[in-house]
């Protein structure tokens, strides 16, 4: 390969995104008015363009993974699937939050530019094949998110949340970096594939590796938001404006999943016995604390924050059942299940926060659970969408959430971890209580507030599609499961 003209084909989507994000940042200066129609349109068009380019690379490199930037960047089937879902999630966030932000005078070009740069960070994380590119992507994402949380700078809660997020996030990045440096010390390389090879050789010093692994897993756990590194989640979800919460709660989960896959599976699979034990603790603690704490919440954003924690814990069950007694037979099943879980979770999270954003009007935040009272009277259709989301989050068939839980539980049992599966379903049972409470408020109670629920046409269409997608995936989950399975097998 010519070092001066590297083959950038695998990274066309990212390059396009960075160019367009810069263009949007500048173009927005010349867009008059509060509505930001042009910025909004351009941002959505950028995401569509990225999707087209990603699909293009998928066809071009249909077979083995293709690399760019001297092996630092990989484009494979799993990455591309995750990227496509990321575009979808970000686009849905734009559609949902436009009216909300416009009502609050927060619809500025910065929101779109930051979100697009954050998206770029996620894409880099998804495609990282090198500790440095992974870290770069992570930091780009995190810095954009810190700024987005503080978007509403006149709000004390937002500023506080941003500060907390920043301090804790920086600490977690430090941990991750420290862990990576240990692994570098033991293996002599930062390239993820090379790390994997060095570990297979078995010459690397085990104590140093495991020491590094602990820090890597801690950093990862922070980004996923699992117990005991979960403290930031409720505060950030609560403090940020709902539109930003919507953003944080959706697409970055995919990037975090990709990061876990790249680090633990692509890189450190040889150490699976060690990190799987750590994940067991993280997973069980997250399901316990997430589900129990969510019951006590009266603020729906906090409730959904704790629900996120429990869901990430559940997803980890898939991550930790890939390798059984040094045997990788279950790996594609287990990681495929975890990937399916993440994708479905993002869809559910988008829908649930979408309804929260929908109910907020100018001068009114629908943040309390009681704001959902009697929603069925005010808007039967959106109450139904929220009903589907809640039952899906609780994992009741026929919704997508059930199949997500089913596939993860199946891989857990296939790995012989019966007790983990039983613990998981027991906490799901506890969890279903607070989802049911939302349904109860919407359907069984009389509304306190009779103002009609109005949605912009674009939001109404996308939110409805989101709800129907969760229902449709609940009736025909097969194809997406297959996609996830192949994505992992192609790694």
């Amino acid at each position: 390969m010519n070092p001066f003209m590297p083959d950038l084909l695998p990274a066309y989507a990212e390059i396009f995104l960075v160019v367009m994000a810069s263009v949007i940042l500048i173009a927005d200066l010349f867009v008059p008015g509060r509505d930001r129609g042009l910025t909004y349109g351009l941002s959505l068009a950028t995401l569509v363009g990225c999707a087209v380019l990603t699909v293009g690379t998928m066809q071009a490199g249909g077979g083995p993974p293709s690399y760019a930037f001297g092996n630092m960047f990989v484009s494979d089937y799993m990455g591309n699937v995750l990227k496509l879902f990321t575009y979808m999630a970000v686009a849905a966030c734009f559609v949902y939050s436009r009216g909300y932000l416009a009502d609050r005078d927060l619809l500025k070009g910065e929101f779109f530019a930051l979100a697009l740069f954050a998206t770029l960070g996620m894409l880099v994380m998804i495609s990282a094949n090198h500790f440095l590119s992974l870290y770069l992507g992570l930091e780009l994402l995190s810095l954009c998110l810190y700024a987005m949380v503080a978007l509403n700078r006149d709000s004390a809660a937002s500023t506080e949340a941003a500060m907390k997020y920043f301090v804790l996030g920086a600490l977690a990045s430090g941990l991750l970096l420290y862990g990576m440096s240990m692994i570098y010390g033991a293996t002599g390389t930062l390239d993820i594939s090379a790390v994997s090879k060095a570990l297979e050789g078995g010459r690397a010093a085990k104590p140093v590796l495991v020491f590094g692994l602990v820090f890597v897993v801690s950093g990862l756990a922070f980004k996923l938001g699992v117990v005991p590194f979960h403290m930031w989640i409720p505060d950030v979800y609560h403090g940020a404006t709902s539109a930003v919460t919507l953003f944080i709660g959706s697409a970055p989960k995919l990037a975090a999943f990709a990061m876990a896959m790249r680090l633990l599976v692509n890189g450190l699979l040889e150490l699976a016995v060690d990190w799987q034990q750590m994940l067991v603790i993280l997973s069980v603690a997250s399901m316990a604390i997430g589900n129990l704490a969510a019951i006590a919440q009266t603020n729906i954003k906090r409730m959904l924050a704790y629900s996120t924690i429990s869901h990430m814990g559940f997803m980890l069950l898939g991550m930790l059942s890939g390798v059984v007694n040094g045997n990788w037979l279950n790996a594609a099943d287990a990681y495929g299940a975890a990937m399916f879980y993440s994708l479905v979770y993002v869809l559910m999270s988008l829908g649930a926060f979408g309804v929260v954003v929908l109910l907020s009007r100018s001068g009114f935040e629908a943040e309390q659970l009681t704001d959902f009272k009697g929603l069925n009277r005010r808007s039967p259709w959106f109450a139904f969408v929220m009903l589907v989301m809640m039952f899906s989050l609780a994992g009741i068939p026929p919704t997508a959430g059930f199949y997500a839980k089913l596939s993860v539980l199946q891989s857990t049992l296939a790995a012989g971890q019966v007790w983990l599966a039983v613990v998981a379903v027991m906490f799901s049972l506890i969890g279903s209580f607070y989802y049911l409470r939302v349904v109860k408020l919407m359907y069984f109670d009389e509304p306190e507030d009779h103002s009609p629920v109005t949605a912009r046409p674009d939001m109404a269409v996308v939110l409805s599609a989101n709800g129907l997608a969760v229902l449709l995936l609940g009736i025909l989950p097969g194809p997406l499961m297959q996609v996830c399975y192949f994505a992992i097998r192609a790694l």
């Binding site: 069925n376 039967p380 039952f391 009741i396 068939p397 026929p398 059930f402 199949y403 089913l406 596939s407 539980l409 199946q410 049992l413 296939a414 019966v418 599966a421 039983v422 379903v425 027991m426 799901s428 049972l429 279903s432 209580f433 049911l436 349904v439 109860k440 359907y443 069984f444 025909l476 989950p477 097969g478 499961m481 297959q482 399975y485």
Partner: protein, 494 residues
């Protein structure tokens, strides 16, 4: 096998699609349209189940009307439907009760009519799915999905304490179902990647695993039956549910648990079933005797009937776990009969409740003076509830007692006490409510049943009498399948 029309698919999806259409009619301004569409949907839903009865071959225990399409290939889950002599009757019963429930809710439900009717239609389709599913995961999906409409029905149209009852109903049943799910996944891994119930029937399982699975299945099914001591959700849910909800709950939903025992526990885990039969029989007898006594002291009519349901279902589980043809067939007959009788009893209470807005026995007295036609119907159903010969209630109880007699005299003796308790609580309630002098002005002002109510009760009365006088029509259908089941249960799978 001859090609056949997809009657099972139709019997599942016709009510569901009709329910969605009803839902689309929107608010209460279109209530008339919603009711009409719901009735048409329920009637078509009933009509498409009739070929199942007409074309049913009673000579074989094999699954009939089988449909098999891959559904989720990743996990080898199939859209696999079929009925045998055990399940076909429940599909017919369910479709029949759905029509009655739609008619019974015609005038009573005035708020959110479309959502009410749609919930029942969708639930009816899902329940048919449970009875027709031959793939364990398909079964589970239908089994769980029925919770959603029922939760909404109890919570939205229920009485005072409806939220508590709805939550209790949901969480209790979910607890059992989740353990059931884990067990199914265990069996899936054990069988080398199949969710087919028929494959599970052949799968050898060691005793320790059988015992654990048995308790997991028990958790799921005993809550649904409900068996003592996990029955406490039922009185709450029944009392708070609207009349139609109670009728469907008692007539069909409770059968899911018992059906689960006969489709899953007995044939998949025969050794554990035998080993634990004493335990199951004890629980059943506690339900029959103790719950019968509890029913006696109830002041609320719906609660009384709810407790009587638990006692009757105790008979069903008793019949299953004595492992002879009389017991199992008697239990199945009892299930069908209880479907008619409990639905009828709840509808009777509903008739009175709509007029008086109270379910307390003490608020009534002398209803016969103002509602003679109604009193006659209720008399019949009360008699059926306590198992009088020539009503459907007698046949099942008699067969189970006969089966129990073959197993053990004292067992039969204890089981037979139900005839006394049943008569005591049902007739005593009947006496206090219906007979005597007119108790108060409200009772004095009662109107007798109208044409719509007459139709519903007459249809149920006809069913109860038909089954009481000529039960062979029902037992013939189930005979081959029950014998086959017992043959399977007798063979160890260790």
């Amino acid at each position: 096998m001859q090609p056949h029309a997809p009657w099972l698919t139709l019997s599942i999806w016709v009510p569901i699609v009709a329910g969605l259409v009803v839902l689309a009619t929107g608010g209460d301004r279109n209530a008339r349209v919603a009711r009409l569409i719901a009735l048409i949907g329920a009637l078509i839903g009933f009509l498409v189940t009739l070929p199942l009865a007409a074309g049913f071959n009673t000579g074989t225990s094999a699954m009939q009307f089988v449909e098999l399409t891959p559904w989720i290939e990743r996990f080898n889950i199939n859209y696999h439907l079929g009925v045998d002599g055990i399940s076909v009757l429940f599909i017919l019963l369910n479709a029949f009760i759905t029509v009655l429930v739609v008619i019974a809710g015609w005038e009573i439900i005035q708020s959110r009519v479309a959502q009410y009717m749609a919930s029942f239609l969708i639930m009816s389709g899902l329940l048919n799915g449970v009875f027709a599913a031959l793939d364990a995961m398909l079964f589970y999906v239908f089994f769980e999905a029925t919770l959603i409409p029922m939760y909404i029905v109890i919570g939205v149209w229920g009485g005072q304490n409806r939220v508590y009852a709805a939550l209790k109903f949901f969480l209790y049943t979910l607890l059992g179902s989740l353990l059931f799910l884990v067990s199914l996944l265990y069996l899936y891994n054990k069988s080398g990647g199949s969710f087919s119930i028929l494959d599970f029937h052949k799968l050898p399982i060691p005793m320790a695993a059988q015992t654990l699975l048995f308790f997991a299945f028990l958790a799921a099914f005993s809550v649904k039956v409900p068996m003592w001591p996990v029955h406490t959700w039922l009185p709450d849910a029944h009392v708070e549910a609207p009349t139609g909800g109670s009728a469907v709950l008692a007539a069909i939903m409770l059968k899911l648990g018992a059906y689960g025992f006969i489709r899953f526990s007995l044939p998949i885990l025969p050794d554990a079933s035998h080993a634990l039969s004493g335990f199951m029989i004890t629980l059943s007898l506690v339900a029959v005797v103790y719950i019968g006594l509890v029913a006696l002291v109830q002041a609320d009519m719906k609660k009384l009937i709810a407790y009587s349901s638990i006692a009757h279902m105790g008979f069903v589980t008793l019949g299953f776990f004595i492992f002879n043809a009389y017991g199992v067939e008697g239990a199945l007959v009892q299930m069908i009969s209880h479907g008619f009788v409990s639905a009828a009893m709840f509808l009777c209470v509903g008739v009175m409740y709509d007029r008086m807005h109270t379910r307390m026995i003490a608020d009534y007295g002398g209803v016969v003076n103002t509602m003679p036609k109604f009193a006659a119907f209720m008399m019949l159903f009360a008699m059926a509830n306590c198992g009088l010969p020539a009503t459907s209630g007698f046949v099942g109880e008699f067969m189970v007692i006969m089966g129990a007699m073959k197993a053990n005299f004292w067992l039969a003796f204890l089981a037979a006490t139900t005839l006394i308790f049943g008569a005591a609580y049902t007739l005593w309630m009947y006496k206090r409510v219906i007979f005597g002098a007119v108790a108060n002005d409200h009772v004095g002002g009662l109107q007798d049943i109208g044409g719509r109510e007459f139709l519903v009760l007459a249809l149920l009365a006809a069913a109860v009498l038909w089954m009481g006088v000529y039960p062979a029509a029902f037992t013939e259908i189930m005979h081959a399948s029950v014998n086959d089941l017992l043959k399977h249960v007798a063979v160890s799978k260790l």
